[in-house]
């Protein structure tokens, strides 16, 4: 296990999200009452306040809403990766998710570019959902 990597807690509102990611699934909460997809995980719907939800499998597609290229100073776990990108992806289901874009030069990143999810294993305990460019017609 990578000792230096910032790690989600094993329990709490986000535990299921990370469990699904480890299995290669991007799932977000979907309100059982009003149907709103929400991310990040929270115990109630911010639209109708219902506590009931299921974990909906996302198509994994979306587009880059905004991005930055990070240079030092960065967290120690990322020091070897600079300059690296951080993107906010607007998922086709509606929610926004902070992630990274892979298989893409930093200079090629544009707001609005279509992307699709992929899963990158940090170590045996943690897999993070990241994104890669997707052909516009896909």
């Amino acid at each position: 296990m990578r000792e230096d990597f910032p790690r989600p807690p094993a329990s709490g509102d986000g535990a299921e999200f990370w469990d699904f990611a480890r299995r290669g699934e991007l799932r977000v909460q979907r309100c059982a009452a009003c149907g709103l997809h929400r991310y990040f995980p929270r115990p109630r719907c911010s639209n109708c306040q219902s506590a009931l939800c299921d974990w909906a499998l996302c198509a994994g597609t979306g587009s880059v809403y905004t991005f930055t290229i990070c240079h030092p100073p960065v967290l120690p776990a990322f020091a070897a990766k600079v300059p690296y990108n951080v993107v906010v992806v607007e998922l086709d289901e509606g929610p926004f998710i902070v992630s990274n874009l892979v298989d893409c030069e930093n200079e090629e990143i544009r707001v609005g570019m279509p992307v699709e999810v992929c899963f990158v294993e940090i170590d045996e305990a943690l897999t993070v959902p990241q994104f890669r460019p997707r052909a516009r017609s896909a």
Binding site: F40, Y65, H71, P73, L75, L126
Partner: protein
């Protein structure tokens, strides 16, 4: 501030105090806090022992009991904190003014002491000096788990995401953030209290290294040590003191589900799609309660942890049109002298110092007293805000009571 307050109880700022601002000061944060408080009391002539209220940021590490124990303040009638980060610039003054006007306290001291120089970390706690975000460790809590495993950790990186979206929607250019950096460094060059005493050119801004694209080093606030304090009391107590009182005309705060939850920032309040973001409702309440408009403001001290916050704040509070903040800066409007709304005339957080935005308040007071280094002519009304994201707020200060 409160509509029914009799004139003699209305809140005024009578004393300002600050330490030196340096990259590294050897004294403790508590020592700096007490130095600033003592200076603020000396400035107005109110004895330290007369203080009966304290308001502070809740991230302030020097508590009210630290302060009263150290300074021998015999009794506090009122104490309160304001949550989160830079929003405390306005929130602490609003709390102090409410305490004074409601009669909960008569003389409230408000302070911020901070050691953020690179060598000044003195504890492992996030707010115990140094960079809070760099001390997060590997056991994440709450919403951190949706950012940090992707390398999104520092405020510069978060603000870069907001800046990039603003550029995309409105055509704002990174150079326009740079122009504000240049303006503020020019202001700092004539301010003997400023850490950065050399003006910069846009070319030098362009040559400063990238921190979080589109934000460069010269867009960032300084990492330094220092403390600032103010004394707030009633108009009646203010009479006959050493300094002309500055009146708290209005204050408004707002909290929105944003900032530490960046995805929500965009969905709920900040998508820049032309609809109102968080600051709009604060601005409307602020100017509405003062009975004046943005056009009546003579000088603005804008929370500028990063220069991109300046155009966004100008838009949110109605000093220019939506999406026009970059062009407003490019027109020269924010510079002193000559600009229609000089912004951060002390040099701001990239020029004078970054005391969590709190050094903007004494500069607004100096402008209204008529004693600023870069003095705005006939300065009657000053705007001061804290934060553009979480727990934001702003106050309007006046040379006259109305």
């Amino acid at each position: 501030m409160l509509p029914e307050t009799p004139p003699q109880r209305r809140a005024t700022i009578v004393g300002i105090g600050q330490t030196e601002f340096e990259k590294r000061i050897e004294r403790s944060e508590l020592a700096l806090a007490c130095d600033a408080i003592v200076h603020a009391c000396e400035d107005c002539g109110i004895p330290v022992t007369e203080i009966d209220g304290i308001t502070r940021y809740d991230v302030e590490q020097n508590t009210e009991w630290d302060v009263i124990y150290t300074l021998g303040i015999p009794h506090l009638n009122f104490f309160a904190g304001t949550p989160s980060g830079g929003g405390g610039v306005a929130g602490t003054i609003i709390l102090a003014a409410l305490a004074v006007e409601s009669g909960q306290a008569n003389t409230v001291v408000v302070y911020r002491s901070r050691k953020r120089g690179r060598l000044s970390g003195y504890g492992s706690g996030a707010n115990e000096g140094g960079r809070p975000w760099a001390k997060v460790g590997t056991m994440l809590k709450g919403s951190q788990q949706y950012h940090l495993p992707f390398g999104l950790a520092s405020p510069a990186q978060e603000m870069a995401l907001i800046a990039r979206r603003h550029m995309h929607v409105y055509g704002t250019r990174a150079e326009q953030f740079g122009m504000q950096a240049v303006v503020q460094r020019a202001h700092a060059a004539s301010n003997p209290d400023a850490i950065m005493r050399e003006a910069i050119t846009l070319e030098e801004w362009r040559g400063s290294r990238m921190i979080a694209d589109p934000l460069r080093l010269f867009d960032c606030s300084l990492e330094n040590d220092g403390a600032v304090a103010l004394v707030v009391t009633t108009a009646e107590r203010a009479r006959g003191l050493r300094q002309r009182p500055v009146h708290v005309l209005a204050g408004a705060q707002g909290e929105h589900p944003i900032h530490t939850q960046l995805p929500v920032y965009f969905t709920e309040t900040g998508d820049f799609g032309g609809h109102e973001t968080g600051g709009w409702s604060i601005g409307r309440r602020l100017f509405g309660s003062a009975g004046i408009g943005p056009g009546d403001v003579d000088v603005a001290m804008i929370f500028d942890h990063f220069t991109m916050a300046v155009p966004l704040t100008l838009e949110q509070y109605g000093f220019c049109g939506v999406g026009e903040g970059g062009a407003f800066i490019e027109s020269g409007a924010t510079q002193w002298p000559g600009g229609q709304l000089p912004v951060n005339t002390h040099g701001g957080s990239n020029g004078e110092a970054f005391i969590h935005g709190f050094n903007h308040l004494p500069e607004a007071v100096r402008q209204l007293r008529g004693t600023a280094v870069n003095q705005v002519d006939r300065c009657e009304v000053a705007f001061v805000n804290g934060s553009i994201t979480d727990c934001a707020g702003a106050v309007l200060l006046g040379r006259s009571a109305t």
